[in-house]
Symmetry: C2
Subunit: 207 residues, 2 copies
C-alpha cells in the first residue's frame, strides 16, 4: 500500500494491528474517520485511552469495573453464596445477557492450558478458594468452555474443593437449541443421548 501521507499511514498501521482487521479494512476505517469532525475522532481516541488507563478489575470477582467492586458485586440483591466461575469478562457478559443468573461471578482470567504455559498458578484460583470460605458459598457453577482445557480446569477446581460441603455444577451440554440434529457433531450427539433428560425439563426450559 502506497500512502501519500505518513499520518494516514501511521493511523492505518495502528488500526491494522487489531485482531481480524487487515490493511484494507483499516484504510476504510481511517478514511471514514478522516471525514468525521475533529471532536468525534477525539471522543473515540479518548474513550480508548481512558478505558485502558482508568479501568479497574473488581477486587472480589476480577471482572472489569469502574471502582474497587464491579457493578455486579456491589449490587446487594445478587446472591453472594452462589458463584459462577467463568474464563473471561466476555463470558460474564454472555451469561448476564441471558438474565437467568442472580448470583455473582468469579473470573479466572483464563483456563489451564499447559501447551500455552498457563498453569493453575496463573489463574485467579487462590482468591476463588478464599471467597468460597468467606462468603459461605453453597453452589459453584462451573461455566467454562466445553473443551479439554475447560474440563481440565473444572476438574482441577472441583478436586481442590472436594473437602468442602459445596454443590458444584457445570453447564449442561447437548445439541444446541434451534440447531438441526444432522449437523450436530458425533460426540455432542452421543453425549446428549447418554445424558438424556426427562421430558419435563424441556417444558421448563421453554418457559
Amino acid at each position: 500500500m502506497i500512502f501519500s501521507s505518513s499520518l494516514l499511514e501511521n493511523a492505518v498501521n495502528e488500526i491494522a494491528k487489531l485482531p481480524g482487521i487487515g490493511k484494507k479494512t483499516a484504510l476504510r476505517l481511517v478514511l471514514h474517520l478522516l471525514k468525521q469532525e475533529v471532536p468525534q475522532v477525539a471522543t473515540l481516541s479518548d474513550a480508548l485511552i481512558k478505558m485502558r488507563t482508568n479501568i479497574k478489575f473488581c477486587s472480589r470477582c476480577h471482572n472489569v469495573a469502574d471502582d474497587t467492586l464491579c457493578k455486579i458485586c456491589s449490587n446487594h440483591s445478587r446472591r453472594k453464596n452462589q458463584l459462577c466461575v467463568v474464563e473471561s469478562v466476555r463470558d460474564v457478559m454472555a451469561i448476564e445477557a441471558t438474565q437467568q443468573f442472580n448470583g455473582t461471578y468469579h473470573v479466572l482470567g483464563g483456563i489451564i492450558s499447559p501447551l500455552d504455559g498457563i498453569g493453575p498458578d496463573k489463574l485467579n484460583i487462590a482468591s476463588l478458594l478464599s471467597r468460597i470460605v468467606a462468603d459461605e458459598v453453597v453452589e459453584l457453577i462451573m461455566a467454562l468452555s466445553p473443551t479439554i482445557e475447560g474440563d481440565t480446569t473444572t476438574y482441577y477446581i472441583a478436586k481442590k474443593l472436594s473437602h468442602l460441603p459445596l454443590k458444584i455444577t457445570a453447564l449442561s451440554r447437548g445439541v444446541a437449541f434451534g440447531g438441526e440434529l444432522e449437523y450436530a457433531d458425533e460426540l455432542t450427539l452421543s453425549r446428549s443421548f447418554t445424558n438424556r433428560l426427562p421430558i419435563e425439563s424441556l417444558v421448563n426450559n421453554s418457559d
Copy 2:
C-alpha cells in the same frame, strides 16, 4: 449488552460507530486493547487523533498530505502535464498500487450525484480547470467509477473542456482479468463485445 464498567461500554460504543463494525466485534477489539500495555493503546489513540487534526489536503491535487503538497505532487519526476482524475484518496492509492502511472492526480472529492445533493459545485472541478491551463496538461485520464454517476461526471468535465486542445481518455471497460465469462453481467459483456480490441492489445497487457 450489559456492561459492568461504563469505561468499557463507552469504548465499545465509540468503536461500534465505525462503519461495518457491530457491537460484538467492537467488544472483541476493546477486550483485545484491554490486554495490551498502556503505551500500545496510547500509540493507537494518538495516531487517530493526530491523523485527523494534523492531516492536510494537497493544495494542488486535493490528495491527503503531510505538507502543502502531497508526496506525488512534490515529486519532480512525475509528469505535471498528464492528469488522472479520481473520485477519492482511496482511488489514488489503488492506481498507485498498479505502478503504471507516472503523471499526477486530481481528487474530485466525490462524483456528481443529484440524488445525494452533490452537484458539480461541491467537487474540486474549478481547481481542475485552472490546473489544466496553468500546467499545460496534454492528457486527462478520467478514472471514475463505471457507474451512471461516474459517467455523468466524466461527460460533464469533458464538455467543460471541449474548447481546449486536450486529449481526454477514460479507463477501458470489459470483462475482468481472470474472471469467468459466464459470470460477467450482460451489460459488461455486451459492451465488451462491441468495444472488442485487436489481439495485439492482449499481448501488450500481459507484459
